[in-house]
Symmetry: C2
Subunit: 188 residues, 2 copies
Amino acid sequence: MPVGNESTRLSAQDWARAALKAIAHGGLAAVAVEPLARTLGVTKGSFYAHYRNRDELITAALTEWVRSHGEAGLSQYAAITDPAQRLRELLTTVVHAVQPLAPSVHLSLLGDRNDPRAQDAVRQVNQARLDLLTRTYRELGLPPDRAASRARVAYAAILGLLHLAQTDPAAPHSAVLADEATAIFLPS
Amino acid sequence: MPVGNESTRLSAQDWARAALKAIAHGGLAAVAVEPLARTLGVTKGSFYAHYRNRDELITAALTEWVRSHGEAGLSQYAAITDPAQRLRELLTTVVHAVQPLAPSVHLSLLGDRNDPRAQDAVRQVNQARLDLLTRTYRELGLPPDRAASRARVAYAAILGLLHLAQTDPAAPHSAVLADEATAIFLPS
DNA sequence: CCCCCTTAATACGGTTGCGTATTGATACGC
DNA sequence: GCGTATCAATACGCAACCGTATTAAGGGGG
């Protein structure tokens, strides 16, 4: 069975993915070997065949998250040549993708921001996104320093909308919000 | 000793305050009786003279937080009659107050957003702030629905700036940011 | 085809934290 | 001052989880 991912045996990746799910749900504290093993249907004995300890699992999971949410995850947006269009895409994607109430790794890591590993992961992802936004505003004609601060405020709004969507039960009409956001953040 | 708060004995308030500090630092998980007792210089035996259990402490701490950060904490802004001035105050206060790296209860609670008590506390505080912002934008002449969505985006930006300030080591010039934010969010 | 490496189970000890019971100390009202 | 409320210490049982043996099973490469 060369391909076929329905193997009955687990890989290190399986554990890392489960760890990310746990982080999204309950933060780093939720990455606990024995509970994870229970949800994976094995006992913890097998975990130590893949990682030396819990810390290694956390590091692996966060590394994977940074990889997929940093520049790699932004490449589809970076590929858009028209900066105005790119900005619009970024904003509307966020505003809409915000609804599914999918538990967010990003928000959970915020709760663990004392942990150096979490702080570092969040910092890297934020930096990649801020860079892209700053570049976009520069291409739209803003002077570098204004582009930087505007990108910062815009990204802050994106993050905040994510916060609000995750806590508010009241789902605001996303279409209206998207319009408002683009009206605000597309440059004068 | 009627006044004088240097009493050698602790009150329920002291425990609640310590709990809030712990939440700001490590989320709800950090509200642990024995560690708290250690930092307070007593043993946990005395804790149970003030609260029946850990849950009661958490509830008390969150209630206190909602009280002081909900409408009560907003009254000084609500008192500003000129809506434009009020909005400016709100924005600049946030942008500046954001620096001290004071660990934020709000951000920590986002990490615990699965916990119903945390979710409820955050929801209440957010609602009070959103209401004030929405009212402000209405007074500035925006139609009700636009006022609501604009308030939402503005508050999202405030939350996001808080987020960024807590994770970024790179402290951006707050004066620049404040200008940018007011330029963006003061209505057209 | 058989050996060995990977995955998994079981069992154990150690730590941390919750909650309870019991007893001691201390302050304040009378 | 005296007694009762409140605050505090100690000791205990209990549960969850980490990490470490140790052993078993199974499946591919030589």
